[in-house]
C-alpha cells in the first residue's frame, strides 16, 4: 500500500491546476467571458483529459479512474466551465458497449432527479431526461432496454440552458424517440452499470473535493483581509473555527474520495460501489456544509450574486445529485451490510 500520487499523477494534477488557474473564471463576471471560456475548452480538448476512459488495445481504459479523479478535482477547485464529467461518463459507456467514438461533443442523459441514467423503453424516453454537463455537447447517450441488458442510444440536444450550476449547464430533453447507436458490440449488464455508477460517484466526489478546496481558499482569503472591530475577521475564533471545520471536512473527503476512485478499477464491482457510495454520502454532506461556510464567512457579500461562493455551492449541489446525494448513498451502504430493504432513507 502506498496511496501517494505517482510522479506522473502529480504532473497530471499540476497540469490541470495550471489550466484552471490560468483560464478558469476568476470572478462571477468572468463566467460571461466567451473568449476565456473558449480558451479553457480548447486547453481541455488539447489535453486529452476527456478521452481518459476511451479504450486502448483490448478495451481497457486509457487511464484509471484515479487519473480521472485527479483532473476532476482540479476542475472543481477552479470552477472550470468546460465539459469533463459528461464526456467522461459517455466515453465509459461507449467503451463498455464497444461503440466507436461519437465524433461529436457528447454527454450523458440522466433521469430528471439525476439519480440514475435515463433509460428508453421500446425506443422511447416517455418522461424525457436531463443532459448534464452539456456545454458544447450536441448529443447525449441514454440506455435502451435490450432483452435482459441495455444497449446505448443517442438523443440530439437543443440549446444550452443555464440551470442550477453556472459552470456546467444542463439541457432538458423532452419525451422523445431514441435511436440506437450503430455498431455497438456488447450489451451492457448490471455489472457494467454498477461500475459505471461507481465511476460517476467517484468523479463527482473528486469534483466535490475540489469545490471544497476552492471554497475554503476563497473564504480564508476573504477572512484574512476583511477587517471589523479594528481586526481582520480571520483573527476571531468564531470565524477561525468555521474555517477549520471546513478544512477538516475537506481533508476527510479527500481521503475517502481517493479510495473510491482507486476502487473503481481495482476492486470487484460490488466493493467498488460500496466504496463510492460511502464516499459520496460523506463528500456530499461535507460539500454543502463547506460551501455554506464560505457564504457565511463572506457575510452580506456572500449572499450577493457577484460573490463566487454561491457558484461553488451550485456546482456542489449538481455534483451531489448525480447518482444521488446523501440519502440514496447511505441506503447503498446499508444494503452492502445486508440491511437493504423498504425502510428507506430517501
Amino acid at each position: 500500500m502506498d496511496v501517494r500520487l505517482s510522479a506522473e499523477q502529480s504532473a497530471l494534477r499540476d497540469a490541470a491546476a495550471q489550466a484552471v488557474d490560468r483560464l478558469g473564471p476568476a470572478t462571477v463576471a468572468g463566467l460571461d467571458d466567451a473568449e476565456r471560456t473558449a480558451k479553457l475548452d480548447a486547453a481541455v480538448t488539447a489535453s486529452g483529459w476527456r478521452e481518459l476512459r476511451t479504450p486502448v488495445d483490448g478495451g481497457a481504459p486509457l487511464a484509471s479512474a484515479v487519473e480521472v479523479a485527479i483532473v476532476a478535482e482540479e476542475l472543481g477547485r477552479g470552477l472550470a466551465d468546460a465539459a469533463f464529467l459528461g464526456p467522461t461518463l459517455a466515453a465509459e459507456l461507449r467503451r463498455r458497449a464497444g461503440a466507436p467514438d461519437a465524433g461529436v461533443p457528447e454527454t450523458v442523459a440522466l433521469r430528471h432527479d439525476l439519480s440514475a441514467p435515463a433509460c428508453a423503453v421500446d425506443g422511447v424516453l416517455p418522461n424525457g431526461a436531463v443532459a448534464i454537463d452539456a456545454l458544447g455537447a450536441t448529443s447525449a447517450l441514454v440506455l435502451m432496454e435490450d432483452g435482459g441488458g441495455y444497449a446505448l442510444g443517442a438523443v440530439a440536444l437543443g440549446e444550452n440552458a443555464a440551470g442550477l450550476d453556472l459552470t456546467r449547464p444542463s439541457v432538458t430533453i423532452p419525451a422523445s424517440e431514441v435511436a440506437a447507436l450503430e455498431s455497438q458490440t456488447t450489451t451492457l449488464g448490471l455489472g457494467d452499470l454498477g461500475t459505471w455508477d461507481s465511476l460517476a460517484l467517484a468523479v463527482t466526489c473528486a469534483d466535490l473535493v475540489g469545490i471544497m478546496c476552492g471554497a475554503v481558499t476563497l473564504a480564508t482569503g476573504y477572512a484574512r483581509q476583511r477587517a471589523q472591530y479594528g481586526a481582520t475577521i480571520g483573527s476571531f475564533q468564531a470565524v477561525q473555527h468555521l474555517l477549520a471545520d471546513a478544512h477538516v471536512a475537506m481533508e476527510g473527503s479527500r481521503s475517502i474520495a481517493l479510495h473510491a476512485a482507486w476502487a473503481v478499477d481495482a476492486l470487484p464491482a460490488a466493493d467498488a460501489l460500496v466504496a463510492a457510495s460511502s464516499a459520496k454520502a460523506y463528500c456530499a454532506r461535507a460539500a454543502r456544509s463547506v460551501c455554506e461556510t464560505a457564504i457565511q464567512v463572506h457575510g452580506g457579500i456572500g449572499n450577493t450574486w457577484e460573490c463566487l461562493a454561491h457558484v461553488y455551492l451550485r456546482r456542489a449541489l449538481l455534483s451531489t445529485d448525480v447518482l444521488g446525494g446523501v440519502g440514496p448513498n447511505l441506503e447503498r451502504v446499508l444494503a452492502s451490510h445486508g440491511l437493504g430493504g423498504d425502510h428507506g432513507l430517501r
Partner: protein, 376 residues
C-alpha cells in the same frame, strides 16, 4: 497510488488473519468495561509475542522496522476479526524515540513495546489543562536524583503502570515553556498516591489522578535535556492526535459492525433515523480508515508530525462520536438498567473531543498553523 497490498503485505495479512482466527480474546469494547482493561496487558503481550505489534518501530527497541502502512493492515484485520484494538502506546514510543538518548531508549523502549512494562502519562494538572505549559509540578535536584512534588490528573491506566512519563518544572526562573523537563518515574514507590476517577460511563480502571509528594527519580531517567520537556510534550501530543498512531480505527470498526449486526438481527424494529445513524457510523469509519491509509503513506517519505495531526484528531473525534450516536440510537439507553454496553459506548465517546487536546484547541491549531489565519 495503490491501496492494495504488495506481495509482502499480502503475506503478512494472511499470517495475521490465520493467527487471529485462533487467538482473538473476544474482549468487550475497550471503552466500556473494567474487564477489558484488566485483560489488556495480556492482549498486548500475545499480540507482540506473535510478531504483530510494534510493526513500524525500530528493531533495536523490539519493533519490526516495517513501513508505517503495516499498521493499517493490522487495524483492518482486527476489525474483520472483531478483535480488540492494538494497544495505544505509539505516542509514548515516538516521544522516547525522538527525545530520549541511547541509554533511555535501550532501558525503556523494549519493555514498553513488548508490553511487559506498562506506562501512563503525567502531563495534565488541575490548573494546567489546555494551557499545559502553566503546569506546577516541581522536580528538584537532590544528588543523583530529582524529587517530584505535584498533582497530575487524567493519567490513564495509572493503576496498572510501572512507569509514568512526567512533565515537571525544573527551572522556575525562565519563561514557562522553557523550564519544563520530562522524566520516566517509577510508579511503585512511597511518595506516590493514586486515586482512580470514575468516568461518566462508570468505568474506574482507565482514568485517574496521581499525587507526587517527594517521589524520587534517578537523574538518568530524564528524557531529553533539561528544559526539553515542552518540546517532548508537543511531540507526544501531536502523535497522540493521530489515529494511525492510536489504532482506534479498529475499535470504531468493531463497534460499527456490531451495531450493524444488531439491526440485521431484527430489521423491522429499526426506523429510518436509527438506520441513518448506523449508516453514518459505517461511513465515518470508512473515511477514517482511508484517511489513516493516506497519512501513513505520507510517512513512507519520512516521519513527520505537524499541525496535520489536529486534522486527524478532529476526524477521529467525528468518527468516534458518530459511532457513539449510532450506539445511542440503535443500541438504546437501557432505561431500566441491565446490559448498558451501548450507553457506555456513547458516554465514553464524549471524551474524545477533550482528551489529547480539546476540539477547540485543535481548531485553533488548524486555523492558525494550516490556514495561516492571524492569531488574535
Amino acid at each position: 497510488m495503490d491501496f492494495a497490498d504488495s506481495p509482502d503485505e499480502a503475506a503478512f495479512r494472511q499470517r495475521l488473519r490465520e493467527w487471529l482466527a485462533h487467538n482473538n480474546p473476544g474482549l468487550p469494547p475497550s471503552s466500556t468495561s473494567d474487564e477489558y482493561w484488566a485483560a489488556q496487558a495480556g492482549w498486548h503481550e500475545r499480540l507482540y509475542d506473535a510478531g504483530f505489534f510494534g510493526l513500524s518501530w525500530p528493531t533495536a527497541v523490539g519493533g519490526h522496522g516495517l513501513p508505517s502502512v503495516y499498521d493499517v493492515i493490522l487495524d483492518e484485520e482486527l476489525i474483520a476479526a472483531a478483535a480488540p484494538p492494538r494497544p495505544s502506546i505509539g505516542y509514548l514510543v515516538q516521544g522516547l524515540l525522538e527525545h530520549g538518548n541511547e541509554d533511555v531508549q535501550q532501558r525503556f523502549l523494549p519493555g514498553l513495546v513488548n508490553g511487559r512494562d506498562r506506562w501512563c502519562q503525567g502531563f495534565s494538572e488541575p490548573d494546567a489543562g489546555s494551557d499545559l505549559a502553566s503546569l506546577r509540578t516541581r522536580a528538584v535536584r537532590d544528588g543523583d536524583e530529582f524529587v517530584i512534588t505535584g498533582h497530575k490528573v487524567w493519567t490513564s491506566y495509572s493503576d496498572q503502570a510501572e512507569w509514568c512519563l512526567v512533565l515537571a518544572r525544573t527551572d522556575p526562573d525562565v519563561p514557562k515553556h522553557k523550564g519544563i523537563s520530562a522524566f520516566a518515574v517509577p510508579m511503585r514507590q512511597p511518595g506516590i498516591e493514586q486515586r482512580p476517577l470514575k468516568m461518566i460511563n462508570g468505568i474506574t480502571r482507565e482514568f485517574g489522578e496521581v499525587l507526587f509528594d517527594g517521589a524520587r527519580v534517578d537523574a538518568a531517567n530524564m528524557i531529553g535535556e533539561p528544559g526539553e520537556g515542552w518540546r517532548l510534550a508537543m511531540t507526544v501530543v501531536s502523535h497522540e492526535r493521530e489515529p494511525g498512531e492510536l489504532g482506534y480505527v479498529a475499535r470504531y470498526g468493531k463497534l460499527a459492525n456490531e451495531l450493524a449486526h444488531v439491526v440485521g438481527a431484527d430489521p423491522a424494529a429499526f426506523g429510518p433515523e436509527q438506520r441513518r445513524d448506523l449508516a453514518w457510523a459505517l461511513v465515518e469509519v470508512e473515511m477514517l480508515r482511508c484517511h489513516v491509509s493516506r497519512r501513513l503513506s505520507d510517512r513512507l517519505g519520512g516521519l513527520t508530525h505537524g499541525p496535520e495531526g489536529s486534522v486527524d484528531k478532529l476526524l477521529m473525534t467525528s468518527t468516534e462520536q458518530a459511532v457513539g450516536h449510532a450506539a445511542l440510537s440503535v443500541g438504546g439507553v437501557a432505561p431500566a438498567g441491565g446490559d448498558d454496553t451501548w450507553l457506555r459506548v456513547y458516554l465514553y465517546s464524549r471524551a474524545q473531543s477533550v482528551m489529547g487536546g480539546t476540539s477547540q484547541i485543535q481548531r485553533n491549531l488548524v486555523a492558525t498553523r494550516i490556514l495561516e489565519l492571524p492569531t488574535s
